[in-house]
Amino acid sequence: MRRFELTASGSVKTLLKARYPQLVILALMLAGYIFAIMAGLIGSPVGSSNFSIVFVWIGWWAVLILVAVPVLGRGWCSVCPIPLPGEWIQRGAVLGPPGAKPRWLNLRWPRALRSIWLQSVAFLLLALFSTVLLTDPLVTAIVLAGMLVAAVGLSMAFERRTFCRYVCPVGGFIGLYSQAAPIELRIKNRTVCAACEGKPCYNGSAEGYGCPWDVFPGGLTKNTYCGLCMECIRTCPHDNIAVNLRPFAADLEKPTVRLDEAFKSFVMLGSAIIYSAVLLGPWGFLKDAAYRIGSYSWFMYALAFLALICVVLPGLFALCTVPGGEARTFRQRFARMSAALIPLGLTAWIAFSLSFVLANASYILVSLSDPLGLGWNLLGTANLAWQPVLTAGLAPAQTVALAGGVVWSARVAQKSAAESHISPIPVMGYCAGAALLLMWLLL
């Protein structure tokens, strides 16, 4: 499969190797992140008038799901400010070379937890409270602050970016869907890596830190766990690391999916379906149940939410992967076939996000001018009326996204099925059914 090496350009490589451009972006992101926390704590409790809600759940989310993940994969992770304070404390420096002696506990993350199960659980926990999280600035501020504190705490107890790799509720699905992105970081020559002494890309050197994501670049075969932090480009003494442009979904040509990653696919697809029904659907009782946290109706909602994601969707999918396969390889087959859900899951989230991002985008200008809802009008746009944008193109765009997702998933299902020696048709039907359900909910 053809690749175009972006780092073949000297200026691109220089830009990526230089620390300051990334650091400046990170500092700005950190300022925005802390500003969002402050806005949530002291600004208006009305979500549509508060920077924390508007910028996190409309602005950032739109950039993340509509641009960053589909195009840049884990590009967001390379400028995410959450690990910055923790890494500073962990390393004792922002740019300086790591000290020979660890400053903190520097523990290894327990082997049993080296998966994205925790990330899925964290996402599900937030998803169950999402109606409040997405509308209440104080709750958003607490969650944002909690993630920052967790990242710092884990950096002090464990080595590298443990929070990003194993805990971050956002990082899990970014990693999953980054396999579809047309950007990758890979080694150029495997032999060079095999012969490399000291493996500075993993262990660090005077030029930079060992891979914060606990990945040996020489073994990278998919984007899922590479945070695009660019440390390996800085530390590789052999100039053997490249950032490539590639066809979309190149990682899914020969999918390798673990069970925890398969579960993540169901978490994301199921969440997209439930959010579409609850947040965009016409059923008042559903919204009511989702909002009344702690009530009997909310517990029923939570039960249904978890049942759909943990039982119904995987159960139906399992039925699609049984015919024709050997019983002893079922688990492997199930996981491998779940790769077909990655394109559809991504396009489902794009279709869902288009609905509320286009409907609420006008709040961004208002919030820029009056970020705390205090009656300021810094840019003269504080009094703009709420106005949905580009709604004429919404339904066609959602239809194209979902239809494209089905076709894309069908192709992945074909490849996965060929390797599993089963028919792809049941999984194709599953994907088509999920897409039709989403179309019914969204259109």
């Binding site: 620390r19 650091l23 400046v24 990170l26 500092a27 700005l28 950190l30 300022a31 925005g32 992140y33 802390i34 500003f35 402050m38 806005a39 002291i42 600004g43 208006s44 409790p45 009305v46 979500g47 549509s48 008038s49 508060n50 910055l84 500073w88 420096a93 922002v94 740019l95 300086g96 970020p371 705390l372 809802g373 205090l374 009656g375 300021w376």
Partner: protein, 332 residues
């Protein structure tokens, strides 16, 4: 420490300090009056101080639903307060005293609890019209506001205050007099008319028409229009647009009343109650204007009926009282 490391730390430190300091400064420089539903705290702050002749500028915002802001016994128009938006109002007081500000939008079951006070100090900048206010009429008359009353006789149909009373202008003069009208219920007047030989030729229905005429003569279309406006703004949420006790909060009040009775060991005297049916002729024809004035000014003492004494002026109260009788009498 290397210069690059120092610069990097400075950059991050500056970003963090700016991200914390900027919103704090914005917040500190923008004191707002927050309006929340009464269950969630009402007004914050709920008391202000002002001085006669010095403008008091308030910036108001709502933390939940649409509220309104107005000050009782002050002519400044009410302002709406939208969620997440800021409304400005400037108040200017001519008289010292304690003023009550209140929510003017039906924001919830306990909407009427959304009140606060403004203590205005200083010397009066203009003479108070009519001098010092005396005791309200209902208090001067010693009316027991809570005594049960019911008109034993009611008209078969809503009487129309027509031209009939003009034929009896001289005979009705003493009945039309303001003091008499305000201290008697329509039923009491009707009963006295029936006993008056001057009206011996009138049947019961015609006597009700004359009674309606007496009530009509004690108000004006302008006063009724203002009374209607006050009723729509302040009363209809519970009593209903037509006074039938079926306002949008009536069901909630009944439910809240039942719940509170349970918590009070069955004592219903102070529990929130269903709103009074002002369209009920047996209730309203037994009520004098002074009695209604008392009920409006004092309120229902825990039953859910707010006290409007600190908010309505005397004229506004009488206009509202006059409007309440339109549920019984038709004026031409």
């Amino acid at each position: 420490m290397r210069r690059s490391e120092f610069t990097a730390r400075l950059l991050i430190g500056a970003a963090v300090v700016a991200a914390i300091a900027v919103p704090l400064i914005l917040w500190w420089r923008t004191p707002l009056v927050h309006a929340r539903m009464a269950e969630d705290g009402g007004w914050s702050p709920e008391a202000f101080k002002a001085t006669v002749g010095e403008p008091l500028h308030l910036r108001l915002t709502s933390d939940d639903v649409v509220h309104g802001f107005a000050v009782g016994k002050l002519n400044t128009p009410a302002v709406d307060i939208l969620p997440g938006k800021v409304s400005d109002i400037t108040l200017l007081f001519q008289q010292p005293g304690t003023y009550t500000f209140y929510c003017t939008r039906w924001c919830g079951l306990n909407h009427w609890r959304m009140r606060g006070t403004i203590d205005v100090g200083g010397e009066p900048s203009e003479a108070q019209p009519g001098g010092e206010p005396g005791a309200p009429l209902y208090a001067a008359l010693g009316i027991d506001l809570d005594a049960p009353r019911e008109a034993p006789v009611i008209p078969a149909q809503r009487p129309l205050a027509a031209v009939a009373e003009r034929q009896f202008e001289a005979e009705l003069a003493s009945y039309i007099a303001g003091d008499y009208y305000r201290s008697h219920s329509p039923y009491e007047v009707w009963r006295e008319l029936r006993a008056d030989p001057a009206f011996a030729a009138q049947d019961e229905a015609q006597l009700w028409v004359l009674t309606a005429g007496i009530w009509s003569s004690n108000t004006t279309p302008q006063a009724l229009a203002q009374g209607e406006q006050f009723f729509a703004q302040n009363c209809a949420a519970c009593h209903g647009e037509g006074g039938a006790g079926d306002g949008v909060f009536a069901g909630d009040m009944e439910a809240a009343g039942q719940a509170s009775v349970q918590s009070m060991m069955g004592d219903s005297r102070m529990a929130m109650q269903s709103p009074a049916r002002l369209s009920d002729p047996r209730r309203m024809l037994a009520a004098s204007p002074a009695l209604l004035q008392g009920k409006i000014l004092r309120g229902g003492m825990g039953t859910g009926m707010p006290s409007w004494g600190p908010i309505f002026t005397e004229e506004q109260t009488w206009n509202l009282v006059a409007y309440l009788y339109t549920f019984q009498f038709e004026y031409r």
